[in-house]
Symmetry: C2
Subunit: 344 residues, 2 copies
């Protein structure tokens, strides 16, 4: 339906987008002539910009102001005009690589410091979803007797997560019997991913075991909680204050709404989840986001893997006036780095 843009219009659109990204001020025809360096006069540019506005790529905040890109304009820029291979500079690379340098043991630490680095490099707010436990597969289950009445259930997945939980052993249990239960569980569960363990499977297991020994009611709580956990995936934030530096957020009310959003982990999760099915980097501009509260924002997301399993997503959130090519290149680098860190 929309006619393809000719070369000149493309150049003008690009100039407007780049200028607006840099200055956050509406871009006038004179400014374009200066940046665009094609010997055209402002008047010509004005005509072209009027066209671009009619086509929906630009808008005017008021009659006597310059133009700013519309959501459609940004989309066109991202899809057709942007230099996709802008690589991030050495300082940034170094910062990104530093995330794991000091042998961070805990996966959570890696995630948190990634969020910090990513937000400070991009000057935007950054969200990282913690690893999705439910996509991991059982590796083994152990039960470690602590004292007469209590035991420690340890659950290990193929992606290296370890979960544990103290349970009450309701009656004395010989090591041999315990061993039997454990190997039965391992036999049944090994290789299944967490989200394949349905409540019905758990009930089946319970039936089998009750027949043999009437204990271990509590041992299953860990399993059941693991299932519930899918809704409890943590989302880590970095650089929440960065968004306040953007001129589009100088309004206290907008800030309030944004921060409110940041406190609702479930929403943050939804934001990231929407994009985490794709394997490559995804860009959502304005209303392309499903979550209403960020429809004035742009979100650039990628996913990270452990041993080739996609376990979580990383996103950079900012105003639609975002330096897309920079963010994309930084994010791509971060994702690569995370993948190699986590898989080793």
């Amino acid at each position: 339906m929309t006619a393809p843009l000719n070369e000149r219009k493309k150049n003008i659109l690009r100039a407007v987008v780049l200028n607006y990204i840099k200055t956050a001020e509406p871009v006038g025809s004179r400014t374009v002539t200066r940046t665009c360096r094609t010997g055209l006069s402002p008047a010509t540019i004005r005509n072209e910009m009027a066209d671009l506005e009619e086509m929906g790529y630009l808008t005017q905040p008021h009659t006597s102001a310059g133009r700013i890109p519309s959501q459609k304009g940004y989309r066109y820029y991202v899809d057709n005009l942007m230099d996709p291979d802008e690589s991030c500079n050495d300082d940034e690379s170094a910062l990104i690589s530093s995330v794991n340098s000091e042998k961070m043991r805990e996966i959570e630490q890696i995630i948190v410091s990634s969020a910090k680095v990513l937000s400070s490099v991009t000057n935007q707010t950054c969200l990282i979803m913690g690893p999705q436990f439910k996509k991991s597969a059982f590796h083994q289950i152990r039960i470690l007797p602590l004292d007469e009445k209590r035991g420690l259930v340890v659950l290990i997945t193929d992606t290296g997560f370890i979960k544990n939980k103290v349970i009450d052993l309701q009656q004395n249990l010989s090591p041999g019997e315990l061993q039997q239960v454990v190997s039965y569980l391992n036999h049944k569960l090994c290789g299944l991913t967490i989200d394949q363990v349905t409540t019905s499977l758990i009930n089946e297991l319970k039936r089998d075991l009750f027949r043999r020994l009437e204990i271990l009611e509590q041992a299953f709580i860990l399993l059941e909680e693991s299932l519930k956990e899918e809704k409890q995936i943590r989302v880590f934030l970095g650089g929440t204050t960065n968004i306040l530096n953007q001129p589009e957020f100088k309004d206290v009310d907008k800030i309030r709404r944004m921060l409110n959003l940041f406190e609702q982990e479930a929403l943050l999760f939804k934001i990231l989840e929407d994009s985490s099915s794709e394997d490559d980097i995804v860009i959502r501009i304005g209303a392309e986001n499903e979550v209403a509260d960020i429809q004035e924002c742009a979100l650039v997301t990628g996913t990270y893997k452990i041993h080739d399993k996609t376990l979580g997503a990383v996103g950079v959130l900012g105003p639609t006036r975002m330096d897309y090519s920079r963010v994309i290149s930084v994010l791509r680098r971060m994702v690569d780095h995370l993948n190699s860190c986590l898989s080793s």
Copy 2:
């Protein structure tokens, strides 16, 4: 040095504080006559207020405005005028009691949801320090072989924390040998608190064990990390947006500084730590706080215990214009509740 206030001045100061807490507007002499209900005329009140200002309990934002309490004024109010026994109402009590109702297993969950409830009841921002691991004592150490090369170290404290970590076992190790090492460690460490385990003690242990079997280099990493952890205590925040609703934070720049503070966990920790030595509730008003960024705020803190050991602190942070008596009663209730939750 400061003369004691007579009854009339006390009443007036109380009236000013209460009014200002409620309205956030400077309080004029007429308003005081209305609330104070002593048949005095505004002129008399004016004279008294002028006295109170000279004594430093009140200040005037500008010559033709009403008075607002100074930091000293709040302090006097809190120490001498406030009704200390205002109890929180049933709805609030119910909300507080709800924290643990659905059998929250993880201590972290309890802490996080406490922060949420406390902030929503007080309409302020709320900080809770996670339990201080270093104050716990060793209960036992276990090493659980996972496969040929790896083992899981499990560390259990008397307060019920469980920490674990996968380690590499550098050479094959018979269960018997492993058992020997573990019981030696238990023997040496049992009963010590985490912060009693110095680097020198660890080195001594290493020497002893190296003499016997030259392995387990890595087993000590968990110990060493536990020591480092003292600086890594997590502080949980609740209701960060509440502070934005306070009229004193309508300035974007103040908001920025505040949120910046909220991102610096180390500072938050320092804020809480300063007050967590005391056993009772502590109130710090304005410059009484050491941390510079909250010297326009008031902080009310309490501590929580597990089995009578003080392990962490809870604080409510807001503008100095805070409803102290309410916050105190709510916080007291929350602390009591936490104590009983965590010790069971």
